[in-house]
């Protein structure tokens, strides 16, 4: 090995196609979808479905044949962050509507049995109608403190079914998964409230399950093209095999594999969210530079402090911070590809990206003055879109807490 920041040629080529979609389709739809919340990005979805479906099909078929788990091992996560960055540069709300298993898929991949993978993921690999997967963790009373979830899963010994009761909120793509496709939602519920985290288990809930209702869809500050659902479970019955991982609550062999395994999906999802943030940040930065150039203001990179105007310094600062966040993100993703444990680095990337892109987009609005505030341009939308990245998949503060525990070598009990 040697230190190299080279993006493989194959990925760069693929990225050109992604860029064409981002530029040609997503940008054109971005404003309309922002103004018409809850409308679906139909063009984007129909473009992406065949591509994502074939990817999922190849992966499932390979697994079924007993081959290596994933295609192109060694660049999968790198490719994902590059793709997410580019699509989010196009439009982050639409990006979130990608018809694929996504977080649900990651959880099933992490701890599912071969039979579960086939049963729950095959639908993402076939058919003309797009399918969505989602993850439901957050509840009205359990945000950052996931161990406080109240949704229960009780085993009915008579039928050997799990019975779910409770309410989940802020579920991205929840409505697309349950009401608008034959999708799935991975729902976290507790089988034993007294057991805390050890009692938390992921269950796969399929569209059409009686007792499962999409209660409402949130109206939001930004990412308006993305559906954010509340889901209510009233005696929703699931086959026993819809539990991912073991039902065992108390540690028998010193690990709680199911919980840890599924939580490890954050190791992959946080770099993606960071990449998504960076795509928005890059969109804003490029836009600002273009507009300034049109006003005759260029950005020099070889001048000392005194020779720069305040606006030039702002832009350089924005670019520097964006690049720092991007490199942290590439590192986190690449570590996964190299089979290295990356929880710390994933949280670093997510924290940094969420923070700097929030600041960058806000500064972009400021630099462009009254025009920046106008809905004629997309900058104000990017500012609203950017903010979610500092919130979902663990707020900036929660991810900072994770970093702090790691560098201080403290447990969650020692550093609360």
């Amino acid at each position: 090995m040697a230190i190299s920041f080279e993006i493989p040629e194959k990925l760069r080529q693929g990225l050109q196609m992604t860029e064409a979609v981002a530029k040609g389709v997503m940008r054109g739809e971005a404003r309309r979808l922002d103004e018409h919340e809850h409308e679906r990005p139909a063009t984007f979805i129909s473009l992406m479905w065949p591509v994502l479906r074939e990817q999922q099909k190849r992966q499932l078929d390979r697994q079924a044949a007993g081959g290596p788990k994933r295609e192109g091992l060694g660049t999968l996560n790198l490719n994902m962050v590059l793709t997410f960055e580019m699509l989010s540069w196009g439009d982050v709300g639409q990006t979130l509507c990608m018809p694929m298993a996504l977080l649900a898929g990651a959880a099933i991949e992490a701890v599912g049995t071969p039979a579960q993978k086939e049963r729950f993921l095959r639908r993402f690999a076939e058919g003309d109608a797009p399918v969505w997967g989602a993850m439901a963790m957050t509840e009205p009373g359990a945000g950052s403190d996931t161990s406080a979830i109240q949704t229960t899963a009780t085993l009915d010994p008579a039928t050997n079914e799990w019975v779910l009761n409770g309410e989940k909120i802020f579920c991205t793509n929840g409505k697309l998964a349950l009401d608008e496709s034959n999708g799935i939602v991975v729902v976290w519920a507790t089988v034993d409230r007294a057991a805390g985290r050890a009692g938390m288990k992921p269950f796969v809930v399929e569209a059409g399950t009686p007792g499962v209702t999409v209660d409402k869809v949130e109206i939001k500050h930004g990412i308006r093209a993305s559906d954010t659902a509340s889901i209510v479970f009233r005696d929703a019955r699931l086959p026993y095999e819809n539990l991912l991982g073991s039902a065992e609550v108390h540690r028998t062999d010193g690990t709680t594999k199911g919980f840890k395994g599924a939580m490890a999906t954050f190791d992959a999802s946080r770099p993606l969210i960071a990449a998504s943030a960076i795509g928005v940040g890059r969109a804003a930065l490029e836009f600002v530079k273009d507009k300034l150039a049109a006003e005759g203001i260029d950005i020099p990179y070889d001048r000392p402090y005194h020779a720069l105007s305040a606006v030039q310094r702002d832009v350089i600062e924005m670019e520097m911070q964006l690049k720092a966040a991007w490199l942290l993100t590439l590192r986190a993703a690449s570590m996964l590809d190299h089979g290295q444990h990356n929880s710390l680095e994933a949280s670093m990337a997510k924290t940094k990206a969420g923070k700097v892109v929030t600041a960058i987009t806000q500064q972009a609005v400021a630099i462009l003055g009254p025009l920046g505030y106008s809905r004629e341009w997309l900058v104000e939308k990017w500012m609203r879109d950017a903010k979610i990245n500092d919130i979902y998949e663990g707020t900036g503060q929660i991810n900072t807490l994770i970093v702090a525990r790691r560098i201080l070598d403290y447990s969650s009990r020692e550093l609360r």
């Binding site: 040697a2 230190i3 060694g74 005194h306 020779a307 520097m320 503060q397 702090a404 560098i407 550093l415």
Partner: protein
């Protein structure tokens, strides 16, 4: 292929330099700061690690396959983890050797390269900074004008020239009067018109002997112009220097964070280690993120330089980022120690003083 794992050889270099920095430099750093110099023996031990000869290509008598800014950045971080003054002191000859590698003519290399392969560091240095608030490294106020005989005549003032006192040769950067471009000129010690001023008194980097320099009609033979008649692209040399400084800044930050983390876990207030409070823990976590970000920025720029890409912008951003982050991190380290951080018995205040130097200095390090 994207990878952040150093080669085995690089890892050996890292381990060697880290051992020296941790075991030899760190224990000596406080006294060196107070006294204004490191013991000569310590510098000699550092020179014997062979960092500079190890970076010179075999074709020129060194031990490297090829010159690598990445390898340099790795070594610099470790050196600065020990002490940044010592790092700059030790690597002062590189201020001449690397520009020679990058831009020297064959004749200049043949004449001057051997001195960097010897058992003791050669008494050479470079002069770039100037005593002006609005100093611009690409447009120095020091001028080089050609006289009737084709010699260059240098005029101007230089600042913070390391080891200038007693230097046998100083690489002076001056604006070519014809083009306005920064160019390098080798000025021998004792050349008429060259005056080494008194040692400078700086806020930090106090163990690095640095001097001001006066050039009054200093005549230099045209063969002493770096790169000969064609001259140099100083922007490229500056980019290498900036990457070096960024890597040094990372080393300082890492040292400061390690110290602050250990302190915060030991120090008890309100009945518990202060590290168990989010106010402290979050500050330290943010430092850790900034350090990693700064390192990646430096590595990426170094890698781009090694690839032969135009990395000026990357190097500029890396250095700006690192200079800012170094201040933030060392300040946080002082803050973590509270009143104790302000006392010179603890090294954190020294690191804050040293770190402030990164915003002020250019061209003081070349990997």
């Amino acid at each position: 292929m994207f990878s952040l794992t150093p080669t085995d050889e690089q890892q050996m270099l890292i381990d060697t330099v880290r051992r020296y920095a941790t075991e030899a430099v760190r224990p000596a750093a406080h006294d060196a700061d107070e006294r204004g110099a490191f013991p000569g023996r310590l510098v000699q031990t550092g020179w014997e690690l062979g960092i500079l000869p190890g970076s010179i290509p075999e074709s020129l008598g060194g031990f490297a396959d090829e010159y690598s800014a990445v390898t340099g950045a790795l070594a610099y971080e470790e050196l600065a983890y020990g002490d940044v003054s010592l790092a700059l002191r030790l690597m002062t000859p590189a201020l001449v050797a690397v520009p020679l590698l990058l831009a020297g003519t064959d004749a200049q290399r043949a004449r001057m390269m051997e001195q960097f392969l010897g058992e003791t560091p050669p008494p050479v240095t470079a002069a770039l900074l100037e005593p002006a608030i609005s100093f611009d490294p690409l447009r120095p106020a020091t001028t080089a004008t050609r006289d009737d005989e084709g010699c260059y005549v240098l005029n101007g003032k230089k600042a913070s020239v390391p080891l200038a006192e007693g230097a046998a040769s100083i690489l002076v950067y001056a604006a070519d009067a014809e083009t306005g471009q920064a160019q390098g000129f080798f000025v021998e010690g004792g050349t008429p018109g060259l005056t080494v001023g008194p040692r400078e008194k700086l806020m930090g980097l106090r163990a690095l002997p640095a001097y001001s320099l006066m050039l009054e009609n200093v005549r230099v033979d045209p063969g002493q112009r770096l790169g000969g008649e064609a001259g140099i692209d100083f922007g490229l040399i500056l980019a290498h220097s900036r990457v070096g400084l960024a890597a040094l800044a990372v080393g300082v930050m890492r040292g400061a964070l390690d110290y602050a983390v250990n302190y915060a876990k030991e120090r008890e207030q309100f009945g518990a280690p202060i590290a168990t409070r989010q106010a402290i823990a979050f500050m330290l976590a943010e430092c850790a993120i900034e350090i990693d970000a700064a390192r990646l920025m430096a590595w990426e720029a170094a890698w781009a330089l090694d690839q032969g890409h135009d990395a000026r912008r990357a190097a500029y951003l890396a250095k700006e980022y690192a200079a800012k982050a170094a201040l933030m991190v060392t300040d946080a380290a002082v803050q973590t120690l509270g009143g104790h951080g302000y006392i010179r018995e603890h090294p954190v205040e020294r690191w804050l003083r040293d770190a402030r130097g990164f915003a002020a200095i250019e061209g003081l390090a070349i990997v």
